[in-house]
């Protein structure tokens, strides 16, 4: 599906990182790799440092911390917020929606729209597309997009496919109406037949968690997981990404009548270094236009990885300069989504530690 928006812009991006840092080198013995293989994969995949929450921290805590930081710094006013879109797969509770907890604890006005979206790695472009749709309403002038996930606790310590890559984080993106007439182009695609490629089998209403679902089982590749853990069919996901993302971007650029070279940065979801380099090569995009350094520094925090790539790589530049950027996310669902838009002279673009 192709989408188009006018008179809207992003005015600020903040990433909130948990203060707890785990290093791959300290975890090597957990995985069934030889030391030489671990060292090689570290370089290829980007295994390195990752941020994870301490036990007891919830998605709402990360979001509220970041929002209060913006209020305290005078970068956002409570009364200006007309809507919150929260994209997460790790809600505080099944009921109520986590956005309501955030609204209540922050003391925000009641005359606003709250929307919780269960999306994973495509969550940034999906959330932005939704936020732009809300801004089409006459009375909605400013929407806060919250992306937050803490899936590290849902990945088995003995899962070498997912564990060394998974991090936790939250981000806050402010989107608002604007008088400029530049067009934002978007796309959203889904394929529910691939739902089991990335899934946590137990813990929902279909298969509630029990002592049985918490038992570890070892697969043919030596990974041990329980039904309560995230299962990723790595081969399927890799091939889905390589197959679907390049044509999605070709279609997006063609709708915008834009050449690949005109794009200053390709700010993509950060699953791992290898996958991103392969994508860049297939698309004919220079590696320096597609940052791939989030996983090795912070881990992959699902939909938060795109705003993390922005705040980590472009923070200073985006306060004074203007760039045409292509944003893309892809993952569980399966789903894949993208945006082509200008990012310019943001009011803020930074990363903070949650304390």
């Amino acid at each position: 599906m192709n989408l188009k928006f006018r008179n809207k812009k992003i005015t600020g991006i903040l990433t909130v990182l948990p203060e707890n840092e785990v290093n791959f080198d300290d975890e090597i013995d957990n995985y069934d790799f030889s030391r030489a293989q671990s060292m090689k994969l570290k370089l290829i995949m980007g295994y390195g440092k990752r941020r994870v929450v301490k036990e007891g921290t919830a998605v709402s805590d990360l979001c509220i911390y970041g929002m209060n930081y913006l209020f305290d710094k005078g970068l956002l006013k409570k009364e200006d917020i007309d809507g919150i879109v929260l994209v997460t797969q790790s809600p505080d509770h099944f009921v109520p929606a986590t956005s309501h907890i955030i609204q209540g604890k922050l003391g925000l006005k009641q005359d606003m729209m709250l929307l919780d979206i269960n999306q994973a790695c495509s969550g940034y472009p999906v959330g932005l597309n939704q936020a732009f749709m809300l801004l089409d309403q006459e009375e909605v002038n400013k929407v806060v997009l919250l992306n937050a996930d803490m899936m590290s606790s849902k990945v088995s310590a003995k899962d070498r496919g997912s564990r060394p890559l998974t991090g936790d984080a939250a981000s806050i993106t402010i989107v608002e109406k604007d008088s400029n007439d530049s067009t934002i182009y978007g796309t959203i695609n889904v394929d529910g037949t691939g739902a089991e490629s990335l899934i946590i089998p137990a813990g929902g209403f279909k298969m509630p968690s029990t002592p049985e679902t918490a038992k570890l089982q070892t697969d043919k590749n030596g990974n041990s997981r329980a039904l309560d853990h995230l299962v990723m069919k790595g081969d399927d996901v890799f091939n889905f990404v390589q197959k679907q993302v390049p044509p999605m971007i070709d279609n997006l650029l063609s709708k915008a009548n834009c050449d690949k070279d005109d794009v200053d940065y390709y700010l993509f979801h950060q699953p791992n270094k290898f996958m991103l380099k392969k994508l860049a090569d297939k698309m004919g995009v220079p590696h320096d236009k597609m940052p791939h350094n989030v996983v090795e520094n912070f881990g992959n925090a699902s939909g938060v990885s795109v705003p993390t790539a922005i705040t980590f790589n472009l923070a200073d530049k985006l306060l004074t300069e203007s760039f045409l950027v292509c944003i893309a996310g892809f993952g569980a669902g399966l789903s894949w989504a993208s945006l082509l838009m200008k990012l310019e002279k943001l009011d803020f673009c930074e990363m903070i530690d949650y304390k």
């Binding site: 290829i44 070498r160 496919g161 590749n221 081969d235 890799f238 290898f274 392969k278």
Partner: protein, 77 residues
């Protein structure tokens, strides 16, 4: 090219004799992480970037299959 491929495979999984196997995948000699390591080595050695859509287990089941894949990606003997 064949010797180079065998060398890389043996570096990755020294416990196996790759010249004796008819299907590396079916015989459990290579998993997806081994394939990633092998692709990285082949990319670097032959100064190519193997197309991401071709990184499928079936393309890495034998030395002949890997040679075919390299040929497809512009590497000649």
């Amino acid at each position: 090219m064949k010797e180079k491929i065998i060398t890389f495979l043996t570096e990755i999984r020294p416990e196996f004799d790759f010249s004796e196997s008819s299907n590396f995948i079916e015989e459990g000699m290579l998993d997806s992480f081994d394939i990633v390591s092998l692709v990285a080595s082949l990319d670097e050695e032959f100064e190519i970037s193997i197309d991401g859509t071709e990184i499928l287990p079936e393309n890495f089941s034998s030395v002949e299959g890997i040679i075919q894949l390299l040929n497809k990606n512009g590497v000649t003997e």
